[in-house]
Symmetry: C2
Subunit: 450 residues, 2 copies
């Protein structure tokens, strides 16, 4: 199987392959130009007759669960990244696959992190053919060097859900590491030592995968409430000592920036939004977890207080700053895709207005609408932006793929998208004549603040 | 199209058709004998490009919504029955269909009630070909008299979800009456004048129907939280003055029985459960909303208090009695399929341990397990039981179909199923040589208390 074949020029003027890993892919045709046809992926019909009557789906270990799930050559194995750099399960899956002599797996994580550098040996020896999912750090560098047997594919959070829903990617086995679960497979992220808030990135995997394994280090009696993942989709449950390292799970950039340059950019961005009339009673915004974005969120808070206004909702990866605004009562709801600190987790556990979302609700473009286009102000970062407003978020100017794509592309459908970015990072220009990797065409980006 | 054809004798010894309304149906083969094959129903892939960017799916009225949904002859239209005898929407749907001259519709309600007697004219004039769903009262009598053009089909709550999921019934248009919704279509049953607690009976309809219309009399700004129905499945939203009559929505049998006979049966039932060792610290039970079942629940409460035990959960249609046990702390959770009074609604709104469920979580036999088989004690009513423990819940001894089947068949998978019933009702024997309609073979029923 060739990695790729048949290069064409897409609507953004980039030369791209149409056959990737032996499968046909439609090149970018322009925003909103592609119209899906056909029907959603139809998973196999299960029967309760094949599952224990007492609801106890526990098996002794991950290896047994993978064997019972029929692990074999060429399968697609999915994981989620709510544990970020504190994940302990993905490495074990492929250790077991290697031990069993299974080859040519497609790993379909919602994102991969440096803690999974361990898997490079399996990308080299053919246990894993390729990663289809964001690659942060060493795995991205490995792929950039052309060392991966198959071709890496990055999908946005929405694009990943869409690929599952539409049957573009058929998941054979989904492994869902869960901070809390019961023996029936109901699972959530708000309780337990490895609490990560929610499990939304694994929702599509649970709904559509042929076999679903829940792995937890906090097994509770039925029912594990809230059931963010429904046990009715789950085949096997595995109890382990530790699913993740709490200190690394809660590791987002959760401090306001201290850099005077970035603080200035943040202030100018907020000022622009205010003067352009984008902030009003009932407005909404998307706040990233980066230091600059957090700072902008605080300026938004000041503007709300000053005018005695209330924001209707924040679309977020949450942490203590949005939570403060929610608890202060100047924000109605946090619609949260990913919690970045313990305050975010606590708030989601305790506050019914801090709502767990998923790529299905927020980003799936092949739904009957999604939330992304309802957001008034979307503040986004970028590794590069060019003079035509095209933007890059995954690679550096040296061409190395080092960052995940996240929901970045999906959020571009917000009403006003703003990129507050410095002119230089580490002496390398960020504003360029042409971006190295085009993640979004300039028409999707409204404002660059620098 | 013939109503039915080709009679055979099924595994329960009853003579049944295999072709019903032109479609082949597999006769009952014995408990757990039928093994499903194939794949779930695959709905059409939608695209956000076809939905308003601002998320506003409001259309001026139900008629417009039905026309935009492509209402035409022979379609299947679904509704839910969370409003029970206070529903105001189902009648309007078919008034509109009649006005538009549409014929031969299949109405697929989760149940129908006397308030929909209005629809008999449309069953007579061919607007509606048949009802596939429980028929309480006049509609059941009409069907029993052989007056319906097509053949009525009753499915249990679990069987209904299963039929949707498996593609046995393809819903063209689902109309979901909602006590609260936003313009995007997110909807819930905990708020608003017509609050009914939850909308679980409409879950499958929202997931699988080609077109989904949400009708509400309490339109709130986005986001309507909790989102029991996801707007991402919804095509159109309609605002009306009134979706239901609150005084009739909350109308279950929500008082402890005053009949000395039935109180005695309740007491004996509870005593049996205690002496047989079925009640223990952490046990679970299914409580119906009938006067006898409520009374048994209260006796269970006494037994828990006496022993200083706590029940792990109640599977319920809820009302004030189970809510009292939950708030007292002697029950861990209420897993609720249907709220029967305002106390049930309030508790579901306020208490995160009062959980809204659906036929998917509770009853779908074509899932990877469901909750029904996890329940220790299931207390059920019946219109008749025979000397072989076969039971009937839908018709009287005169043969008239007058009652819904609900989740009754699904709950039979609980660990111990008990039917506390009087020997006579209105001078007609309830214990008989042979039941009129067989809803369950005797092997599923463990205990009859009379």
């Amino acid at each position: 199987m060739k990695k790729y074949d048949k290069l064409v020029t897409n609507a953004a003027g980039r030369v791209v392959p149409t056959i990737i890993n032996g499968e046909e892919h439609i090149p970018f045709m322009g925003i909103g130009k592609y119209k899906p046809t056909g029907r959603k992926y139809a998973p196999r019909i299960a029967s309760c007759a094949d599952y224990p009557e007492d609801g106890n789906k526990l098996v002794p270990g991950l290896k047994e669960a993978l064997i019972k799930s029929g692990l074999k050559d060429g399968m697609t194995i999915s994981t989620h990244h709510h544990f970020r750099n504190g994940d302990l399960i993905a490495n074990q899956i492929f250790d077991i696959a290697h031990e069993l002599g299974v080859k040519d797996l497609r790993w379909y994580p919602s994102a991969s992190f440096p803690c999974q550098e361990h898997l490079i040996q399996y990308l080299e020896d053919g246990t894993i053919n390729r990663i289809e999912g964001s690659m942060n750090g060493p795995l991205g560098r490995f792929a950039s060097l052309g060392k991966m047997k198959g071709l890496g594919v990055l999908r946005s959070h929405g694009g990943r859900y869409q690929a599952i829903q539409d049957g573009e990617v058929e998941i054979d086995i989904a492994v869902i590491a869960a901070p809390t679960a019961d023996a029936f497979g109901n699972a959530n992220g708000v309780n337990g030592d490895a609490a990560c808030g929610l499990l939304g990135f694994a929702l599509g995997d649970s709904q559509y995968a042929d076999r679903v394994i829940v792995v937890t280090d906090n097994l509770v009696p039925f029912p594990a409430i809230p059931w963010q993942i429904h046990g009715n989709y789950v085949d096997f449950v595995v109890e382990v000592d530790k699913v993740g390292l709490p200190e690394k799970i809660i590791s987002g950039t959760t401090q306001i920036t201290k850099s005077p340059d970035r603080l200035l950019i943040a202030e100018i961005t907020a000022q622009f939004c205010e003067e352009a009339g984008l902030i009003y009673d009932g407005f909404s915004y998307q706040a990233g977890a980066g230091g600059t974005a957090l700072s902008i969120g605080n300026y938004f808070g000041d503007i709300l207080r000053k005018n005695n206004w209330k924001a209707s909702f924040i679309r977020a990866g949450s942490n203590k700053y949005p939570v403060q605004l929610l608890e202060e009562g100047i924000v109605g709801y946090i619609l949260d895709g990913q919690t970045f600190d313990l305050e975010g987790v606590r708030s989601m556990r305790e506050n019914s207005n801090h709502v767990n979302t998923s790529p299905f609700t927020s980003y799936n473009y092949h739904g009957k609408g999604n939330f992304a286009s309802l957001v008034d102000i979307v503040v986004l970062g970028a590794t590069e932006v060019d003079v035509n407003f095209n933007a890059n978020v995954v690679s550096h100017s040296d061409g190395y793929l080092l960052h995940g794509i996240g929901g970045w592309q999906n959020t571009l459908f917000g009403k006003t998208t703003i990129m507050p970015i410095p002119l230089f990072r580490d002496r390398i220009p960020v504003i360029r004549d042409e971006v190295t990797t085009m993640c979004a065409p300039g028409e999707m980006i409204d404002v660059v603040v620098t």
